[in-house]
């Protein structure tokens, strides 16, 4: 069972986000990046499947902010192979990102591709589905359970209200993982440091045609924060009293 996990670094949303001078993109100067949270789940599910069935896990990422760190972290968790795809700038353009990843993945040997269900920074649709289409594979998004038997996977897809659909899919396929069956494992920094010395990142250049999202970004702006809320101020004690009063007025 050879599994490919595409991962992406995204801005840490705990940070304050600012628009840059172009007015169309994030100001990255002070941004902290972290792995997209659902990619951690995709990687976890891949590692669990490998533990069950044997095989390899290959992690692949487009070059970008702090990507090496994310790849080495994946190695420390148990990924066998790390690939960095260079030569493409696909910010806010998943069509291009998917095409770039597809250009590298198409020549690889794999049974399954597990991505995160979504990242916080795309404008033109879900990468797993685009990737599947460019590779000519079936796809299922919003996946919370994967079992593999031979070359068929049984997959659970979450709808609203906690309703789950169960599907069978012929492999290879692309699955967008919402949640792994276990909480993603944690690796201590020391282990990541060790991986940085022992693991190797293979760099491959992308081969992208003139695909693009064809969207014209006109401006990026912050929503009016706090537009709705009246902020309660004063001492914590006063605020607590006010909250109790508000609640009591409703019930």
């Amino acid at each position: 069972m050879n599994i490919i996990v595409p991962i992406k670094q995204v801005p840490d949303l705990v940070e304050e986000l600012e628009v840059d001078s172009s007015g169309k993109a994030l100001d990255k100067e002070w941004l902290k990046f972290r792995i997209n949270e659902f990619d951690d789940h995709a990687l976890e599910e891949a590692l669990l499947l490998k533990e069950d069935l044997g095989g390899t896990v290959t992690v692949i990422a487009l070059d970008g902010d702090d990507v090496d760190k994310a790849l080495y972290t994946a190695a420390a968790k148990g990924a066998d192979k790390l690939i960095k795809v260079t030569g493409v700038d696909a910010e806010l353009d998943n069509h291009k990102a998917a095409m770039a990843l597809a250009s590298v993945i198409k020549d690889m040997d794999y049974d399954l591709i597990l991505t995160g269900v979504q990242a916080v920074d795309d404008l033109d649709g879900q990468l797993p589905v685009l990737l599947a289409e460019y590779l000519g594979l079936p796809h299922i998004e919003v996946v919370t359970g994967v079992k593999v038997d031979g070359n068929v996977a049984t997959v659970q897809k979450e709808f609203s209200g906690g309703i789950v659909g169960e599907y069978e899919v012929d492999l290879p396929a692309v699955l967008g993982i919402q949640a792994a069956r276990e909480t993603p494992r944690y690796v201590p920094v020391a282990k990541v440091r060790r991986a940085m010395r022992s693991a190797e990142i293979e760099e491959v250049s992308a081969n992208v045609g003139d695909v693009s999202s064809a969207l014209a970004v006109e401006r990026m702006f912050k929503p009016e924060t706090g537009g709705g809320a009246e902020f309660l101020t004063g001492s914590v004690d006063e605020i607590a009293a006010k909250i109790v009063e508000l609640i009591k007025s409703k019930i």
Binding site: P11, L13, V14, E16, L17, V19, E37, H95, Q118, V120, D121, L123, D124, G125, Q126, L127, P128, V129, A132, P138, H139, I140, E141, V142, K157, E158, F159, S160, G161, I163, G165, E166, Y167, E168, V169, D170, G176, A214, A216, V217, E218, M220, K222, P223, T225, G226, G228, A229, E230, F231, L232, V236, I239, A240, I243, V244, L246, I247, K250, I251
Partner: protein, 311 residues
């Protein structure tokens, strides 16, 4: 005058609210042109009766379409779009729509704008970064827009009457690589969070499972129940039946107290219609404050003990 096609969504035979939300918007975008709904299913002709706001229902009937299937629905929708040639295609940024929008965009080479929170002729606003940024994009037809659930009112897409139903043939779906097996209903929880007057809802900001009992106690003191955001369920700190949001439950209590929840669009979708929303979050820029009536930026661990004292 535009031709607008709405891709209908149904689950368990029920047309979902998003369909009406899209329909209302479609009528506005059509500017006197034609609004059609694409309905894919098995023996679902009668559902057209609830789509009176549309001019036309394009109906495709097949065993392979009885329940949502990422592949058969995609292939059928692609064929319908090629035949109908709409200027604008509207689909939900929902679990179903997330499987369709991108695939249609790539296959039909139509640009796609997703996470749409506002849409008018030639322009869309898309909500990114967990609701912390908006991006405005210019659009020229034909295009596909994947719209956030709850972005537009469902009322505008509801009207009496039965639109003309045009049957369309399904493409050959016999070799589908994705096969639907079954729908699994959620296990009933110990409490029904949709039936509470007061919900104390906790998010990742509570940091540890050890803090759950404190909020449980607070909920009890208020005569309500404890609810949560998705990461709390993914961490297995609370059961799925307590999850509020897109893939959890939609709640509308009299009071919704949110502790350490940032307010990602997927969470907002499930609670924004609560009567009184009070949010506690140390980040004054957290999107939850756009929807809360009252906001507090104190550390919740300072605030909660004081709240308990007063109850």
């Amino acid at each position: 005058m535009k031709k607008v096609l709405v891709i209908a969504e149904h689950l368990n035979g029920q047309i979902q609210d998003i369909t009406y939300e899209l329909l209302g918007k479609a009528k506005e975008l059509a500017q006197g042109g034609e609004v059609a709904v694409l309905l894919m299913g098995k023996d679902m002709q009668d559902a057209a009766n609830s789509l009176g706001a549309a001019d036309k229902v394009l109906y495709v009937d097949s065993d392979a379409l009885a329940q949502f299937n990422p592949q058969t629905y995609f292939l059928t929708a692609a064929k319908a779009i090629e035949e109908y040639q709409p200027d604008i295609v509207l689909v939900g940024t929902t679990s179903q729509g997330m499987d369709l929008a991108g695939a249609l965009s790539a296959r039909l080479k139509m640009p796609l704008v997703a996470y749409v929170s506002a849409l008018e002729d030639g322009k869309a606003v898309s909500q990114l970064y967990g609701g912390k940024m908006n991006v405005e994009v210019g659009l020229t037809t034909p295009y596909i827009a994947a719209v956030l659930a709850g972005a537009f009112p469902a009322d505008k897409g509801k009207a009496d009457g039965t639109p003309e139903v045009v049957e369309m043939a399904a493409p050959d779906l016999s070799g589908a690589k994705v096969r639907f097996k079954q729908l699994i209903e959620p296990e009933a929880g110990d409490v029904d969070i949709t039936a509470q007057d007061v919900l104390v809802s906790v998010g990742r900001g509570i940091q540890s499972e050890d803090n759950i009992p404190m909020f449980e106690e607070l909920a009890q003191k208020l005569g309500g129940a404890l609810a949560c955001s998705r990461p709390i369920v993914d961490n297995k700190w609370l059961p799925k039946s307590r999850q509020v949001g897109k893939s959890g439950l939609k709640v509308k209590p009299k009071v919704y107290l949110a502790f350490g929840i940032s307010g990602a669009p997927e969470h907002i979708e499930g609670m924004k219609d609560s009567e009184l929303i009070i949010a506690v979050n140390t980040d004054a820029k957290a999107p939850i404050f756009d929807y809360a009536h009252y906001g507090v930026t104190e550390d919740m661990f300072d605030l909660v003990p004081k709240l308990m004292e007063k109850l």
